[in-house]
């Protein structure tokens, strides 16, 4: 009797294994998509490019690859499909492994598609289990498929890691938005207190030597957007500036300098190197390293027919270079320089805000500071901030203090 019971129990156990393990998949049976590119489609709704990893190229031992050393580390495939998961199932038709989006790091959307406002596939990104909401959203100037194809990092093997590392630079240069993950995008779009801003990248052909056409008069080096840097050499991806959205539709691009001001207002600014016009010698420039002194203060006054936006920003800085020969270490000169820099920054900020008002998109997020003044959600919605924002009055107040002057006090006097 006991024997029968044991046998019966064992059979039951075996039954469990017979049914199979449904989710079990060996790690090498997967094809991991590292980046997704979405373009406007001709035959179907979208043209989707998936960049899949070749493990032994990306992470295998050195020299273990043997022959075929010219293979690229990523396998690219472009499909016309109505949705991301549609593309996945089509891909499974000719890629021998199970294509999975678990390790996708970035979503590249072409500018054309973004300006059309055709970003409905984002619902899939949120809903589908494999995609994570921490992936980056990058708007590319060219088609995303072109971008992914041409992307070639010079240092390192993994292109996606390269892109990721580019995004870390915002702390030092303040030329990129602080974060542009799908989660921010989605939560902002849903709530409507502010509008989203995403990364903007462009691919540059190596043979062209840009002369920064049309911007020669403007000596601020950060006023370029991606794709327009006057340079040669280095890898062919440029990621500077951002793409502003109004809800789902892209309405404009911001240059690196404008992003810097955006970050100042957004209170996400850490430090940056900025070049200002020398107040005494308008032809020369002064390089300053700006850093944040106190958190920026924004407030909104919603009483009255037009909202009044006010911003108080305080910065401090260190002079990195003076080209005009003027000695700014003297107190009056220092005060003049500080005032001039404050004025320049204020002007730029006002210009930025005006631009966003033209686009009718509150990317800076004044709406977030207006909300606490409303008691209930209904009151806020009756007020209808997005329509009131373009009419708002702006007032900006910047305080700048020079702290340090570098290794020498008086500048280099180059006698003719």
């Amino acid at each position: 009797m006991r024997h029968k019971r044991k046998v019966g129990f064992l059979l039951l156990l075996l039954l469990l294994t017979l049914s199979g393990c449904w989710n079990k998949i060996e790690i090498e049976e997967n094809a991991f998509v590292l980046a997704i590119g979405v373009d406007k489609g001709e035959q179907d709704l979208y043209r989707i490019t998936m960049a899949m990893a070749r493990p032994e190229k990306l992470a295998g031992k050195e020299g273990g690859g043997g022959g075929g050393g010219e293979e690229k580390p990523l396998v690219l495939s472009t499909i016309e499909a109505p949705s991301l998961t549609g593309a996945l199932s089509m891909l499974n038709g000719y890629i021998g492994r199970n294509v999975t989006l678990q390790h996708a790091k970035a979503l590249f959307v072409s500018e054309e598609l973004a300006r059309d406002g055709n970003l409905q596939f984002l619902d899939e990104v949120i809903r589908y289990r494999e995609t994570r909401q921490t992936i980056f959203l990058v708007v590319t100037k060219q088609d995303a498929s072109q971008f992914l194809e041409g992307m070639k990092p010079e240092l390192g093997k993994n292109p996606m890691r390269y892109i990721e590392q580019l995004t870390y630079n915002y702390r030092r240069t303040a030329m990129l938005p602080a974060a542009s993950q799908i989660s921010d995008f989605v939560s902002q779009v849903n709530v409507n207190y502010s509008q989203p801003l995403s990364y903007y990248a462009a691919l540059v052909e190596e043979e062209e030597s840009e002369s920064g056409g049309g911007k020669a008069a403007d000596q601020s080096e950060a006023s370029h957007t991606a794709g327009e840097l006057p340079r040669q050499g280095g890898s062919n991806v440029e990621m500077i500036g951002g793409a502003a959205f109004k809800q789902q539709k892209m309405v404009g691009t911001l240059s690196g300098e404008e992003i810097r001001h955006y970050l100042l207002l957004h209170d996400a600014f850490h430090q940056a190197v900025a070049t200002f016009k020398d107040p005494k010698e308008p032809e020369s420039s002064v390089s300053v390293r700006l850093s944040r002194k106190r958190p920026s203060d924004l407030w909104v006054d919603v009483s009255g027919s037009r909202p009044r936006l006010s911003a108080a920003i305080s910065l401090e800085g260190e002079i990195l270079g003076v080209q005009s020969g003027v000695d700014y270490s003297e107190p009056e000169q220092q005060a003049a320089l500080e005032a001039s820099i404050e004025q320049q920054i204020e002007d730029s900020i006002r210009t930025l805000i005006k631009r966003t008002q033209e686009w009718e998109s509150d990317i800076v997020g004044f709406g977030r500071h207006a909300v606490p003044q409303f008691p209930t959600v209904e009151a806020w919605e009756t007020y209808d901030w997005p329509s009131k924002y373009p009419k708002a009055e702006v007032q900006v107040d910047v305080r700048f203090t020079l702290r340090r002057f570098g290794l020498t006090l008086s500048p280099l006097q180059l006698r003719q």
Binding site: N23, Y193, R368, H369, P372, P375, V377
Partner: protein
């Protein structure tokens, strides 16, 4: 006569109640809170806590009046030989319904979040087996295992909340009053029956050596749960914003998914899922034990163990009855919660009857 065995102390009681209630936070309940209250979801949580604690008072009074006695003994003593078992049966049915819906909700949650292609049956069978084994070993085993697991569960969830703090945008918590004070308060009171799932304490009121322990267990456990719910609601709204959060059926899971502190500290949600599986299993074990003991008492069975096996076989098909996930959610929100209020009336009724008919030992002042 029923064989009641096992004793638990005050601390174990608190951990049991807290574990049973707070495992609900891993399901869809924070979503309900935000749905009702908008950005003021945390206020709803506070109202719910206070309401829950208030509705627990008759239950506690009942336990204190009949120390050391099981539910069926209490109801027989208070309400008579006919009405008593009937009332016990009602409570047992509610506990069973709660168990079935919890099982289905947890199964759906785990399938959607970590085991996408798995059919529900193996997941349910595994959960029921664990709950069966735990209930078989007895109340003391469950409470001791909970004592060890609870720091893990609480710690894991706290870590999730902590790591989500950098993402919190405090402006998303405004407007301060959400949709207004009235919807907040009514919503909170409606969901107070969520907190009153602590009625499960009725099923093991006999195990407290000192009946005052029952009072502190129930109240402190509910209070802790309320604090946890408030914290979760705050972080949830702060990270996602009210509209997204109210549509988010797996709030803590999504929060865990968003953790991205630099290159290394990311992608950790699967590990934290393990702690939530513990919480789910504890809740199922306690509910199963409570339902079985109560049902056995209502039916007049001498011991609860044989009933355990039949019940486990029964609840799996019952749990598979709702057609889809949304039906489960709606059943839970629109049916189980109001019935919870009805169930809370029963201990109040029993207590009244006991006072009127002057049954029961201790009549010391509360």
């Amino acid at each position: 006569m029923y064989q009641y065995e096992g004793h638990i102390s005050r601390r174990e009681g608190i951990t049991l109640i807290f574990a049973v209630l707070s495992s609900m936070l891993f399901l869809q309940y924070p979503q309900f809170l935000v749905e009702v209250g908008g950005p003021a979801g945390w206020q709803v949580a506070l109202v719910m806590t206070l309401g829950g604690m208030a509705t627990l008072l008759p239950v506690i009074a009942l336990i204190r009046r009949f120390p050391g006695r099981g539910l069926d003994q209490i109801s027989k003593a208070a309400a008579g030989v006919v009405l008593g078992p009937l009332l016990t049966l009602l409570i047992a049915t509610w506990l069973l319904a709660s168990l079935v819906l919890s099982l289905r909700s947890f199964t759906e949650t785990f399938i959607v979040t970590i085991l996408p292609d798995t059919p529900p049956s193996p997941v349910m069978v595994m959960a029921v087996l664990c709950a069966l084994y735990a209930s078989y070993r007895g109340l003391e085993a469950i409470s001791r295992a909970t004592q060890i697991l609870l720091p893990l569960i609480a710690g894991g969830s706290l870590l999730v909340l902590l790591f989500s703090l950098p993402r919190v945008d405090t402006s998303l918590l405004f407007p301060f009053w959400g949709h207004g004070l009235i919807p907040t308060v009514t919503g909170g009171l409606y969901y107070a029956s969520m907190a009153a799932e602590a009625v499960v304490i009725l099923a093991f009121g006999y195990a407290f050596r000192d009946p005052n322990d029952a009072r502190s267990s129930g109240l402190v456990g509910t209070l802790l749960f309320g604090l946890g719910a408030t914290a979760v609601a705050v972080v949830l709204v702060g990270v996602f914003g009210a509209p997204t959060a109210s549509q988010n059926p797996f709030p803590l899971f999504n929060l865990a998914r968003l953790i991205y502190l630099g290159r290394f500290l990311q992608r950790m949600e699967s590990l934290i899922i393990m702690f939530w599986v513990f919480a789910a299993l504890v809740r199922l074990a306690v509910l199963m034990h409570a339902a079985t003991v109560t049902l056995g008492g209502a039916l007049g069975l001498p011991h609860y163990r044989p009933l355990l096996f039949s019940l486990s076989v029964m609840i799996i098909p019952l749990a598979l009855l709702p057609e889809d996930f949304l039906v489960t959610l709606r059943l839970d929100r629109d049916w189980l919660r109001p019935l919870g209020f009805a169930v809370l009336l029963i201990p109040a009724l029993l207590w009244l009857l006991a006072v009127i008919r002057r049954k029961g030992g201790e009549t010391d002042a509360a």
